[in-house]
């Protein structure tokens, strides 16, 4: 028995019939084919599937698509500016904050959410904000440096 949902993803309105047990991550990946959102554990333990739901970062594997009815969602595909890469994305590339790239979409969205609320975070605030997003490649140091390097003036 499918349920109709309405939601806005990256500024585009979607209406869809979903199974009641369809998770938001599967809805985004399989129904909308927005595969920039990664699925690393499907149990809310790794943060790879982080998306922004009504302004807050969530593990989209722990949210049902039906729970997101009526909400606004931003995925990595929605993070860009008119000029191209978002300053945070640029910083991640320049500072070596990406290696395999699998955690990067979730990590960048979590970091962007921090910068929206706290434009000049301390190192400690960055570490805390990103503590739910695991990265096995970088050792986090360059991720922290990348977030620190972003000038708040550049954030759209």
């Amino acid at each position: 028995m499918k349920t109709m949902i309405n939601l806005t993803v990256n500024g585009t309105k979607h209406e869809a019939a979903v199974e009641p047990n369809r998770t938001l991550v599967d809805f985004l990946r399989y129904d909308l084919e927005l595969t920039g959102t990664k699925k690393g554990c499907d149990m809310g333990e790794c943060g790879s599937c982080t998306v922004i739901l009504n302004g807050k970062p969530v593990n989209s594997c722990l949210v049902l698509a039906v729970q997101a009815n009526g909400s606004e969602i931003m995925t990595i595909e929605g993070l860009k500016t008119a000029e191209g890469l978002h300053p945070l994305q640029k910083a991640f590339v320049e500072k070596g904050a990406i290696q395999c790239g699998f955690c990067s979409p979730g990590m960048i969205l979590a970091a962007n959410n921090l910068l929206q609320k706290t434009p000049t975070p301390t190192e400690e605030e960055i570490r805390t904000a990103l503590s739910g997003n695991l990265c096995r490649c970088t050792g986090y140091q360059k991720i922290i440096e990348a977030v620190m390097s972003v000038d708040k003036q550049d954030i759209p």
Binding site: T35, K38, E45, Q99, F102, I143
Partner: protein
Amino acid sequence: MRVYTTIGQSVTKVDGREKVTGRTVYAGDEVFPDLLYVKVARSDRPHAEILEIDLSSAKNIPGVVGVWTAHDLPGANATGTRIKDESVLCSKRVRRVGDPVVLIAAKSLRAANSAKESVSIGYRDLPAVFDPEEALRPEAPRIHESGNLLFEKKMIKGDVEAALSKCAYVITNTYRTQRIEHSYLEPEAGTAYMDGKKLTVKLPTKHAHFEQDELAKILGLDRKDIRVICAPIGGYFGDKQGLSPGYYAAIVTRLTGFPAQMVYERRESFEVSTKRHPYIIQMTTGADKEGHLEAVKVDILVDTGAYASYGPSIIGRGVVHAVGPYRVKNIHVKGRLVYTNNPVCGSMRGFGVPQVAIACESQMDLLAEAVGKDPFEIRRINCLQAGEENASGQTLKASVGLTECLGEVERIQESLPPHPREIDPQYLTGWGLAIIYYGIGLTGLPNPGVAQMSVEPGEKVQLCVGVGDGGQGAFTTLLQIASENLGLSQGDFNLLSADTLTTPNSGTSTASRITYVVGRAVTEACHHLAGQVGKKVAANWGVMDLVFEDGHYHCGVRKISFREAVDTLVNEKLLAEGIFDPPTTPTDKETGLGSPYATYAFAAHAAQVSVDRETGQVNVLRIIASHDVGKMIHPVHVYGQVQGGAMMGLGYGLLENVIVKKGRILNPGFRAYLIPSSMEVPEFHISVVECPEPTGPYGAKGVGEPSLLPTAPAIHNAVARATGQYLFDNPVAMEDVWRALS
């Protein structure tokens, strides 16, 4: 000093933009209209005979397209990276929890999962063995026909017993290390489909050409009818080769003709993928009264689990590195690899060396204490210098920057202000030191790197290599090497990578060999290509002697760039191939001596820890890391490897432990299996030493694996300095520290 245009510059990572925008298509991101979802029903027994398999209810689930057992397989039912001792689907017997038994394909993931749950397998349990020492007893259940002792490797030099009897100091201890999980964030995945008549498989892999050969046998197809494409790799750390979702997806496509995809669940990945081998190491270290090493005796017992995987190669490397980067005349090392009914262990970053480094470096600190020397001094008087012989009897001719690494770590350590915790009465603090060396390339085996290039007027230069990029920046590095050689830049190239249809077999992405071996092959290919273009230039100019330098052909005052020469003087497609096989010799069967690696990377780490006096909790406050990488091709990527490796070493030394009880993993997920998070990042101080390797591209060696090796041993030594007590088990568990304190 030579000035380079791109070598030594942190140029833009070639795949960076795709990755930060989420546009990189990993194997599990592939979308097809008729895609079948693949699942495997697995054994829940550590050792059992299969009596019956009931598929009737699974087959009746709507959406299920096929349910298959071993009898339905199209080809060979035997696979493995070193020994073909694993079944693709088990038919008679399972040897571990997680052994594959039934293959399922359905039109939805939900239907595939339902079918997996409704498969019923009847077993008769067999006696199982979970301890490597017990597995060696004559009465132990045999896991494979060949017996439980899978492999034995020795290294013997001088007369260890006679030398030990004359030593002023003899220190013997037994060390135990744990299993750990690679924990790449991308679970194993694979997508297969028919591309015309060619069965095509996309999967993240260390070695696409190996997978093609293996799949040919399993699918019962000619290898030319299979194309393996290495998908972007979401982390591998030594794993991601051999039987994996891409194999099962390929079988489903072979049986049905439909595109098929399989992605491991995280729990499945934990249970089924290989782990770092747990070692039991007994080490005896003997030295004269000044602390000069005279003799080292090591006995290593390794539990490889139910299948061999990379085990024999890993114990081979472990034995060669067991004595560490020291000058020792009398050596006896014995390593034994044993089958049990435990989870399978295999290749993981460090490849058998992280374990021995913990034992070796703890022994050195204990020796320092006994002799009354400081940890720097004991290592300085014993560590290898250029021109000296290592444990396997190989003379290290050049690029031995270990003393410099030690000096750098000491200099930085002395320059640091006291950490606030040093004066906090809640904590004990201490610094620990460790040094390592690591052979680059496969152990005593031919392992040629191959690169192919082509060029034609008006087109980008094509560079084809058979390796993927695990995230470390391999593609960027190889393009820098090609750019420097031809006087071009990244944008002038079209890179084709790890695709059995379009690229050569460059060997496996292991042993920190891509930069050194494949990078050198790229240099060779560039030389051949520049030579061919040069012939055209010379003919056009009517000259005999031509110099190619800084990307230009010169003759007297005449000068033309490589690119201009191609565009104006070449009227055909020119092809070139470069091969580099590092000069090694196989190690002797009896003595284990030889020249197993053409070059070695060196490193020293110091870790400062705090230990909570009440709880025993250890925090790493600072890590100083100095690495001799030969030559840094891309500094940001080298630092990234050092930081990432050190954090992995921190996890190994303090946090991570795959807990196994009667063959079952009790913590198959990130909630109970802790890898370091952003909260554990210490203060990093990194110093790179460049001691050029004459055979490497621009002097480069490797850094991926050396980066993690000294961290855990340094943490052990730091905890010992802080608490006054040595702990011989890895990881340094909070409860063990607490017990030691109370």
